[in-house]
Subunit: 717 residues, 2 copies
Amino acid sequence: MIFNQVWQGCRIHNGIESEPFDASVPGNIQKDYAVAHNFGDVHWADNCEKFRDLEDDFWEYRTTLKYTANKGEKVFFVSNGIDYIYDVFLNGECILSDEGMFHKIELELTDKLNATNNTLTVQIHPHPKRKGSPMGTRDEADHSCKPPVSYGWDWNPRLLISGLWQDAYIETRTSAYINNCEVFYNLSDDFSKADVKVSIDCAHNCTFELFDADGNVVYSGQELAFTLDSPKLWWCNGQGEPYLYTYKVSNAEYSIFGTVGFRRIRMLRNIGAKDPKMFPKSRYDAPFSLELNGRRVFMKGSNWVNPDIFWGDITRDRYDEVLTLVRDAHMNVLRMWGGAAVAKRDFYELCDKYGIMVWQEFMLACNLYPNDDKYLTTLESEARAIITGLRHHPSLVLWCGGNELFNGWSGMDDQSLPLRLLDKLCYELDRERPFIKTSPLVGMGHGCYVFADDNVMGGDVYYTFQHSNCVAYTEFGVPSISSEEVLRATIPEDELFPIRETKSYILHHAVKAWKTQSHACVPIIESYFGPANSLSELIDQSNFLQSEGYKASFEEMRKQAPHCSAAINWCLNEPWKTAANCSVIMYPANPKPAYYAISESLRPVLFSARIPKFDWNAGEVFKAEIWMLNDSPEAADGEVSVSLKVGENVIHLLDWKNVHTPAGKNLQGAQVCCVLPNAEGAKDMTLILSSPDGKGSEYRLLYKEKLNITKPKVLNM
Amino acid sequence: MIFNQVWQGCRIHNGIESEPFDASVPGNIQKDYAVAHNFGDVHWADNCEKFRDLEDDFWEYRTTLKYTANKGEKVFFVSNGIDYIYDVFLNGECILSDEGMFHKIELELTDKLNATNNTLTVQIHPHPKRKGSPMGTRDEADHSCKPPVSYGWDWNPRLLISGLWQDAYIETRTSAYINNCEVFYNLSDDFSKADVKVSIDCAHNCTFELFDADGNVVYSGQELAFTLDSPKLWWCNGQGEPYLYTYKVSNAEYSIFGTVGFRRIRMLRNIGAKDPKMFPKSRYDAPFSLELNGRRVFMKGSNWVNPDIFWGDITRDRYDEVLTLVRDAHMNVLRMWGGAAVAKRDFYELCDKYGIMVWQEFMLACNLYPNDDKYLTTLESEARAIITGLRHHPSLVLWCGGNELFNGWSGMDDQSLPLRLLDKLCYELDRERPFIKTSPLVGMGHGCYVFADDNVMGGDVYYTFQHSNCVAYTEFGVPSISSEEVLRATIPEDELFPIRETKSYILHHAVKAWKTQSHACVPIIESYFGPANSLSELIDQSNFLQSEGYKASFEEMRKQAPHCSAAINWCLNEPWKTAANCSVIMYPANPKPAYYAISESLRPVLFSARIPKFDWNAGEVFKAEIWMLNDSPEAADGEVSVSLKVGENVIHLLDWKNVHTPAGKNLQGAQVCCVLPNAEGAKDMTLILSSPDGKGSEYRLLYKEKLNITKPKVLNM
């Protein structure tokens, strides 16, 4: 039986204890303190900086235990995770000292309890900061398993949190308690049979029952190895039903429930990934083509970041509202970016349910994690907990050591022991699931993160990706400025417009986030549109670029299939109210226009145009290739009529009839072409791919009526 | 006490037993049979084909045991390795069925022995051949740990062997027997201390004594953990002394001896290996810069292949004569190519002694090894034996999964479970030693394997490597035709000249070995020299190309340091008498001219020229950069006078005085330049870098007196 407790918090600053304050569990104790001390809305202006003073303090959660235990029952203190270094005291005696927020603790208290009046204290140590590391940077976290994101990122404020971020409670258990159940299976090559093995951790005999999605019993017994004929397979979004079986494990006193999804995952070499042609020859590109149940599936999705700066606050509902948006956008994969690492259990359960595949990284990102024993020991303990805790989820398709570790700003490489350790643990505990040490690997691409830049190939994202040849695009971003509503909730009135280097804009990542002008990127916007007259005009222009930029990128990558196997943009969501970001869903779950644009681009079947660039001039020869894209498991038919609307001019370019694409194949059609007319007053033009049955698309492009074929000025930011 | 046995062999063909024949142990039973049945010299003509009939037979080694055991002694059958699938029978009872040639067996017989007249039989199964694999190809070995080389390679005949290839004997042991001793250590960061831990596997207490190279005791005691102050370090050839300590482990009855070399190895990212500049960005190149005792060491060496088609015959002397050649050529590293895998213990002991670093591959090469459980189980057993058996050797600096596994002709990749398993085992058992899954990795280069070819960048090897930018060249080859003496010992008179597609030349790899014309590559030779008038002229031309080609390649790679960290040619030696090969030492230990040329190029300090190409014409502008190369651990001084000798003309080009290079650094000097004179009758010319103290070099180049600036015809082979 579970007994939730009432907790009080206490801040210990230089040895001096604060007044106690109410502490939420799960939660983050710095937030509890901020509420008690009226820090105000963390999203507003520079309020987030008030947390800087709290970084090096100790914190305590305290409770006087409330529970009842029957004779013979054992009493446990259970927590699914405590962030990050901590001691647990019972009646003043230290009963556990531990490190790492991702492993569960189950502390038996039975023999240590008084008859009445027991106090339990969880003391949280200051956030780990490596001695000698540059103050206020993520380097401080480079010798620990504390996720580095809250040490400051270009979309996350510096705001360090800790505490009882997962459920924590007292539980009484008899000897019949079921500690754990895991269901393992082997699918036959033709998927016609599943050899199931159930592992139950319980001192008493249990009965295992397996139910199909309609609640029919498909197996029941105490024998824990059996064969299931014709298992219904779990498919990702867009490829079939994410079919889940339910199981129940029970004995006379307890029962627990869980789900099983039957599917086979393999990571294959990309089709067309060839050896280098000339000597001296290197290797071919890293394999990154996902096969689900024998079918290669193009991964289309996004990078997920922690959905709240206060991880402890995140609830199942919070996950659900973003994950339904993911599903509705026809995405089938989320990369769980390494700097924030592992979500709560609800997240993975919802991904199982919605058919969203999960690429799970460990908590390493953009740092040089060391080969030393202390770090490796903590990493092993955390990784074991993560792997065994998540491996039963059918949605989980890939383990990854962490983010951008084989790049200059990290400095790790193939020989780094932390990554060899993670590979080893994944092999031992979960070897059927693919593992990569980091992203990007050879052949994969990260970036760019602007609509156009001299540091990318050519000018804009249209050109860049049409001239790239990656096996997978696993990060690419186009930023936009958040809605006026968000800006007015975060930026003081006198800083609002023009967007410039003010304190609030800097803190909310509109400027100086990554490069000087990101993520608002006003010079890029102005290079296309000239100076904006108002904040709302600037926001519209920015979201126009983001929407069309993402559309052009995602659709280009789909056209590069099967050599290219993934289009995963940076990023989906954000942990707080940013003023500008590459995200397509504003905090907490408000879609930007780009979200809807991407949803269109990711429809299983659509007509799509490959347009060489974004900006066009009257008199220029406009060209575009017309394609039918189909990543669905069925053949598709359709027809399309292509026209270009420039001001009042509608130029009919093509009728393509009786178009047929086999399942999972794209078809390249004709190239359309016309000289752009002079359309007075027009500032944009639209290429319209009209199709009677919802497969049409529209592309809004920049148009200038004066003939000016020089390239728009693009600044190197 | 050890009792060697007298063995009889027996071939079992379709269930029918042959007459018994004498069997050598260690040895290969097919060779014993061939001797008994007068197959003749295996090197001659097509004699090697006689072994084809023996491939699918069973074989037996039989002996009537001769030994004496005192009361209380146990009796063991010991073998250091049995090739490949086998059963052991004692008095007709099967006491072991096993697979894999690289693990030791120690079978206790004590309680199974009769008072007299015990027979021991080792039955060897047919060579593994995967069902359904193309007959007569290395693919037959792609589901086993049998080294694939003897299934046929472009320098190894198809000639399958098996049997008791390592020592095998009866041993009696008391309870005081010392099963094993391993010495582990941690060097302090400044190398001033070694924390030593000794692991002794013995039921009785033992004393451990450590001696320096002069025989002085530096530690003696029963305490198995101690600190050694100021340990003398083991260095590779050219960097210092390969200093070895000796140890003795003893108790009242037994003593065993071993050596320890103290050194630290790390594999670092190459200097100048940078992130890709443009988005979308991939990763940087694989780290391949070896650091020995805190000093980056340029790896210069060669690829070692099995030195005999009959592995069982190889003795310590055979290793020694080749390894002294390696040392004398200033080489410091050998890559133990994966297809042949692991040598006998003597090899590694000699490498320890001579300071030759060993890059050890497992027995995978150019095949797609599967993810299946049976194969993984055998691989794990073999790999554990290999790792624990070799990890104490200071010369061993790198583990590698196998050869060219991430290329199209193999088809494995980062996800392949055999390679993840090997990484895991190396991490568990020997994590301080670097591990790579295969060669080449990204940034490393294999090839080319001809002097000039359209499939390589530009024309000849001079151009190719001057226009390559690899972090390491771990295979590159220039073939030559073997000496006339070797040809006359292998090729029947009527086939000798011209070299063409005759049976003997094909079997001895002169034609159709890799490409149609390799390895003799007559069309390439003729493209430079025209048709040869005699065999000896052709051989001279071929060796001229090989010598100068290897010189140009090795010296170019040294000039690319520190970005480039390794120059390791394909290959050093060969397992039998080839008619043509990229090897520089003919079977068994006869240097080709190229061996001496390479020895010159690998001197620690030398003056070297970067010459853009091999072939020159009168009237052309000749150019060369003059360098001083120094990979020694000391600064070097010198002076050089550069001249070009064309026929009778000696053109003085440069005097470079007071040249100083710091330790381990190269120095680029001036470029010399002249118009080539018309020198009647001259067919070659020599660039002479004359230096008073042995640092000079000479480069022989092709010269044509008629002005003809078109590129010589180079065939695409």
